[in-house]
Symmetry: C2
Subunit: 279 residues, 2 copies
């Protein structure tokens, strides 16, 4: 059987790879890319079968860049998952906790472990491009006084050792990921259960424009799960709204709601309809 | 005359300091803090007279953390400004462009100059905690093969030289900053002209709850400038909505709208009413 190739941004061992495993199982073949747009392009070009894309984090909010890519690339969302972000202190095999003086990681990860650094004042925080990449680096360079902060998967992949587990300040640190495929392809996930539909629309900047647009859902008792506004680039008086609705695209009610929204909005694009993740 | 002390996050020369100058004039005394919560605390404690807080960037979206601080600290917004983010390549005095091999900056800044790095493949990107801090570092350490990416103000403050101006990929890179003060204090900015009111409210996760809440504004022809939803931490079925309305709190219509919203929402907090920034 051919393994499913899942593209993601980051080094091998990134949290996106853990999300790919959570979505597609152990057999998935992870294909890392340096940038998000390259992941989308790889999917469109057929270099990968699916893309695993972080879209929001409970502490940091939406990954705006990726909403823009969903707007600009012709792909569809077929699934979502929520991953708890657990940060671990990871050192090359043989390096002891007492020897650690420098800790490498992405600034966001370092900043999510401030209590740990406050309790261990002798450790110097050092920024690095990527969480998993910092594990790779301390292992490859054989540093004897350094550790990295990353996922447990990164420790496994680079043959490093977890010295301290779960050193993040806040346990309510979750990232939501979308699974995207090419529009014509058969979904890699079973499409059963309660559904969510993600879409974007624009309205003129007139009083009540958003209110009227939302009536398309509200008047049909369809529940909004998320809404985010963003100024439309280059058009200072128009706005984009990214919306998740608890609705199944195959339901007559949803079809009518989207027809109604199309009437009220200047522009509408549906990113996909997919099974809602269990919380 | 006593100089106004403005707290901000980052090193001296950070973009927030440029925003403080734009808001309060040349005479402002910038007081840097390591973290955003420390800036808010300093304002509440009276260690500074005002806080200058980035709230959204056109490329990266909202600074969610700061919305949470406005929710949790007792401060009021009295002004806003939009700052064009211009990245410059900055080296210690005497270091020539031809000598540069390494470029230090915050990862976000490095990633906003990818075209520059693509055109200059011999330059190695190296992450650092802070944009202005990276200028400080290359100057203090007297590096002869290194430059930093930061604001022109950082070059001035640390006596460094701008080698290349405006190396950012996208000119549509603006950050919006709030000016905050203690609730009882006299606003440091003239409160004339068109007004904006920023607030947060929560609704139950029932179909149409947001639609009903927005009716408080729509039925009075009050225009929404921005809306952002966020799951309420620890309460998975409730949502926060951060909203900017083009409305003056002293108008009878606005008062009635907020009274109406209070009736429809579970919780409501007004962050402030302030003059809309010129675009």
């Amino acid at each position: 059987m051919k393994r499913v190739r899942a593209g993601f941004q980051g080094e091998l061992g990134a949290f996106s790879q853990a999300a790919a495993k959570q979505l597609l199982g152990e057999g998935v073949k992870p294909i890392p890319y340096e940038r998000f747009d390259l992941v989308f392009r790889a999917l469109v070009n057929g270099d990968v079968d699916a893309a695993v894309i972080p879209i929001e984090n409970t502490l940091h909010g939406s990954v705006i860049e990726n909403y823009d890519h969903f707007l600009n690339f012709d792909v569809k969302i077929v699934g979502e998952t929520k991953l708890r972000i657990v940060h671990n202190l990871i050192a090359p095999a043989g390096v002891k906790w007492s020897a650690i003086r420098r800790v490498f990681s992405h600034p966001v990860a370092l900043n999510q472990c401030l209590d740990f650094f406050a309790a261990n004042g002798h450790l110097e925080k050092t920024t690095f491009y990527d969480t998993a990449g910092s594990v790779k680096m301390v292992v490859e360079q054989g540093l004897t006084d350094a550790a990295a902060i990353a996922s447990s998967m990164a420790a496994e992949i680079y043959g490093a050792r977890i010295l301290k587990k779960g050193i993040e300040d806040d346990r309510q640190n979750f990232t939501r990921f979308f699974l995207a495929q090419r529009p014509g392809d058969k979904p890699l996930l079973p499409q059963a259960g309660e559904k969510k539909t993600s879409l974007v629309f624009t309205t003129r900047n007139t009083p009540g424009a958003l209110f009227r647009a939302l009536s398309a859902f509200a008047l049909r008792d369809l529940s909004l799960e998320k809404i985010e506004s963003r100024p439309l680039r280059g058009k200072p008086w128009e706005y984009l709204f990214y919306v998740d609705v608890l609705a199944d695209l195959t339901d007559e009610k949803t079809k009518r709601a989207l027809g109604h929204l199309e009437e009220l909005a200047d522009f509408l694009k549906v990113f996909g309809c997919y099974p809602k993740a269990k919380s």
